[in-house]
Symmetry: C2
Subunit: 766 residues, 2 copies
Amino acid sequence: MNQDYIQPDNWCIIEEGFDAERVKSSESLFSIGNGAMGQRANFEEQYSGNTFQGSYIAGVYYPDKTKVGWWKNGYPEYFAKVLNAPNWIGINIEINGEELDLAKCTQVSDFRRELNMKEGIYTRSFSAVLQNGTEIEVNVRRFLSLDLDEAGFINYQIKPLNKDAAIVFKPYLDAGVHNEDANWEEKFWEPLQAQHTDNRGFVTARTFKTHFTATTFMHNTIVLGGSPQTITPQASNSEDHVAFSYAISCPQGQTAAIQKIGGYTVSMNHENTQQAAEQVIDQALALGFEAYETKQKEAWARIWEMSDITIEGDVKAQQGIRFNIFQLNQTYLGKDSRLNIGPKGFTGEKYGGSTYWDTEAYCIPFYMATKDQQVARNLLAYRYNQLDRAIENAGKLGFKNGAALYPMVTMNGEECHNEWEITFEEIHRNGAIAFAIFNYYRFTGDYSYIPEKGLEVLLGIARFWHQRATFSTYRNQYVILGVTGPNEYENNVNNNWYTNYIAKWCIDYALEQTDRVKAEYPADYSRIMAKVQLGDEERAAMQKVADNMYFPYSEEHGVYLQQDGFLDKELITVADLDKSQRPINQKWSWDRILRSPYIKQADTLQGFYFFEDHFSKEDLAKHFDFYEPFTVHESSLSPCVHSIQAAVLGRMEQAYTFYLRTSRLDLDDYNKEVEEGLHITSMAGTWMSIVEGFGGMRVRDNALHFEPRIPAQWEAYSFKINFRNQILKVSIGQNETQFALEGNEPIRVYVFGKEILVEPNGLVTV
Amino acid sequence: MNQDYIQPDNWCIIEEGFDAERVKSSESLFSIGNGAMGQRANFEEQYSGNTFQGSYIAGVYYPDKTKVGWWKNGYPEYFAKVLNAPNWIGINIEINGEELDLAKCTQVSDFRRELNMKEGIYTRSFSAVLQNGTEIEVNVRRFLSLDLDEAGFINYQIKPLNKDAAIVFKPYLDAGVHNEDANWEEKFWEPLQAQHTDNRGFVTARTFKTHFTATTFMHNTIVLGGSPQTITPQASNSEDHVAFSYAISCPQGQTAAIQKIGGYTVSMNHENTQQAAEQVIDQALALGFEAYETKQKEAWARIWEMSDITIEGDVKAQQGIRFNIFQLNQTYLGKDSRLNIGPKGFTGEKYGGSTYWDTEAYCIPFYMATKDQQVARNLLAYRYNQLDRAIENAGKLGFKNGAALYPMVTMNGEECHNEWEITFEEIHRNGAIAFAIFNYYRFTGDYSYIPEKGLEVLLGIARFWHQRATFSTYRNQYVILGVTGPNEYENNVNNNWYTNYIAKWCIDYALEQTDRVKAEYPADYSRIMAKVQLGDEERAAMQKVADNMYFPYSEEHGVYLQQDGFLDKELITVADLDKSQRPINQKWSWDRILRSPYIKQADTLQGFYFFEDHFSKEDLAKHFDFYEPFTVHESSLSPCVHSIQAAVLGRMEQAYTFYLRTSRLDLDDYNKEVEEGLHITSMAGTWMSIVEGFGGMRVRDNALHFEPRIPAQWEAYSFKINFRNQILKVSIGQNETQFALEGNEPIRVYVFGKEILVEPNGLVTV
């Protein structure tokens, strides 16, 4: 189902024509969110065709119990599911006695969806002929407010075209929702109270087990020909449901509308969620729909002002990068350090949990460069706040003395990924969490985070690696056995080069920072040492592991080996693999994948990406040439790294191909699964492909470096970087690069190593 | 729960005293079976304490669907569960208006269970005081007939001790049973019909999905003071239940009894199961309870006549081996080639499926030497009959051209083990299936099986190994990647020595037999070649793999390595492991087990057991000394192999310790899990420990060889071998060995290599 129905457009995602087969895909692609909540683009009105109903509240989850026949010791007891929240968007419509249902109309024409990414507004319009012969035109406008982030707004307009219409608007709230991925067909929500007054409805429900209470609310206004109407609705309640029924006569050619305000107030933020809901409604009504729509456009304009990337001469590439940036901002805005960036954001349920190593490895660079640096600091603090849980988690696996293993997946700091051994094996995640601390300091220059919080995290992680390594008398070196690297198409391997390398680096970096904090922040040092009790003996033992780590290497090929035994594989390149066998994760049995040489996502090359400065360009070329031919990129997180490295190596055609693949992964549905939701975290990789890949941006010695390149297909592109509270705009054409600075102080940048001074509010062309 | 409540006895398993905590363990230990059906030793009467109700019919299973979050391609859709069959043993008892329930009596005394292994009869007796003050004595006698193997017999006697008693016997049939291990709390049986006439009751039910129909039946006779009574029962039916109610007044001191005949007739064996059930009842009544009890003793005497092993001077060792031999014969008698030897027999549900490599690796030698050789041939034919399914199974994993991969676990030839990658990885099972063919011919001299059936199996297996091996250009040899060897505490390893070794052997043996069949059975050869289409090119390619197989070897230690990378492990011996860490499968997380050096069961040493003649005794000693110290024996299949090898190496104390562990594994509950059922297949390993270990029996060049040894704790032991239709009895004392032959022709045997002639019905002392 490699779709191509999305119209190319610089600012909008557009679908034209109604196709029931595309409904679930479009529900994913047209999803909207505001960081606090989000929803798939489900129809407001009844729809009896195939649909995947989804509405989500940030931070609200459910620990679904898991059943596996051969349970492995150490598995967590549950898998935290992103929880389908009560439905507040529902508005059933009756026209001349018939229920409006696009699956049942005799004709649907001019069907159009548009997600205006510039403004953050989703619209849908169509004309339809009902079975009773009534012809109508429908226009729906919907947004989740960035300003009032517990509220969403819907304006649902109906114009009868060929006759007068008796229209009944039936807006409702429904907490009787379930998760598509529930293991036990259990109910996740316990209804507490459903009530209504005038035009307001409220359903309060509490999640089982986690006890999040949420009040789902609505307020409705009926409008005829532009004038608000006073209609007393019929109302009905059940324990988890509130519904109103507004009957209105609409003459042919006039427009009847319902303006529904709805959303959630949650016990994470309020003691009395019902009272809070009343206040949100009051606030929303005080200014009204149009004022919030104006604010919405202004808020998105502010986001784009800083984070937009323009591409000239390639509308599909432009649409792709904006879609990625838009979705990242819909998912996470960095306001709340209790939240994180779920792999599907608010667009689906698959994967569960909210936090993977994706956050540190892929997302932080984007947020760091396009937001206030507090946002990245919040993301780091999220892990600091969960350090005790990471130490507990390591304890469950037999580690001691403050060793920390951050979970594979989490909602609250506990491991919540089970059912597969990689939970225990994919420990490289710990490395990315330490790397993010290094990266944050490198980019922002804000060292304060390390004495305040970062060092404790670094030491917990270093202790883990120290204890996790094994001394091999045979090799007279330390080895790390039984891991899964970033490439999940290998399980339980020994000496994954990436893991060994980042383990060594983590220990070295933690000990270096310990020394620096001791020298420069003695009070913090004393506080931390009193807590973590790091003795000289342990320090020396840790250093010994780092200094004597084993790295598998092939003299013959002159490359580090992804893991021990990689050369035993039958090294047939992807190019020589019959196309009918792809994607191998759908065509091959798991054992065949495991013993094949095929790489799901950058693994050794991920190490070359993180630690680029440790290796020469020749080294990179050698490793890229060795591993790229075996990489199938069946993870969304893979092509961006290869795109960056191809750009570094000056292989622009290849870099461009990888760029398109990463930026339009969902729009063009490369992996044939967009129905299930979008790949949010890899979207930050797309941003990196342009800024770090084509733009060649790096931070070295407290300065920005660029090696600008441009794909042949583009006329020009531009991006902005918030570098230490000054905004640098970089515009790259086929022949020149311009730097413009919004700030107060001049800034040194290096272009291909040559120093350039950019003056405040000045422009430099290279 | 290391129990020691079973009384030592040469012929009986005896429990004295009632302990509610032991009920589930005793239900396992006192299980009875007759090859066609079996049951845990559940009480007949109501019991409200903790119990695990289990009744099983050979060959009747249910494909339970499985749910795993991260499904791997290639997993089978279901896990075949050993199905809990309808209950026919139930007899509720009312005494003076009170329900008899041992959990509710005010006093229980003289409680005794006895499983008489010599006779195949299980008895239970106790005295009890009911809450209403009635004192009673109860004696129950139960057996599953070996002669009429669809029927079981119960004689349930009650004697009121302190007053007259109004007794109501309420025998019933109940198809509303469930499996303890059901994944979905689904019902597995669909009731079709429940009916009764006179004293007969019938419930016919059909399994969902597999559509086995079983009629569960009963017939009841009430006896007072030895005289059968004519009492018209009250009867009640529901859709899955039939119950009778017989009221009788029993004077103090007299005995009232119910004789219940019950059992199953199944659609595997009958077109009309209800009619068949009527006939079984007729047959049972024609001779009656006592006659069938006599026949039962005679049938078990015949079994013991051939398969008994006597041990003098060590009652616990004697009880252990008889318990093992008894259970094997209760589980499988070799009459029906559709059946096989489930790992828990009829004593529990855990593991599911009926057939593992256990059959070929452990059970066949026992059945071959203690039964008519047709029985072993039936076990081989079971795999031949499933060859097409094994080829299909390999096809699902991407293998072609007739390559066969026998399932990890099966009921009907299909793979039914899922939820864990070893399904795909533990492919060494294929090797044991080929080895059994070789072993059958070696032992019986019956070559005819190979041209008739065996060669096709051998070639399917050889093709699998050929395709499964990978050519490593790096090693310039063939490697086998991504396997799990017999030691399941290693997963997804490369070049497991045992697997590589047996793979090479399978190819060599298949090609040798192809040549022999071509030369000696040209008609069979043509038939087989027309079917399997083995060309010269494929043959040569197969041979090349066998000739160039890679075997990991350590020069330093002079041993083959269990797999690549074994020496990277931290080689701390089990002796140096803190006892609090054992058993590691309960104390450690799975990842820690995987990267440890600890060996769950003989792996490299399993290869030395199978291919003993390929290696010198010095080689064996070196490998035993290297691997034994890392072996935790947390599989029931492990100690027997180590016992045999310790005996071969003359380390009798160690051999004896392993023997006790294997023979009393369940009686002494070494693994703390006997509640779940018995370890049936490993019991054949116990037999091997004595015959092949202590007795040193081998077959070489069509002759029996012995190297008799005896543990210091024993005065003497003896066993019999059916060698090519002559029965050789071997009696081994501390100073001499006697051979006695029941047969027609003299037989040459070798004792420590020295030839000895044993005449028919003669006796030789060495």
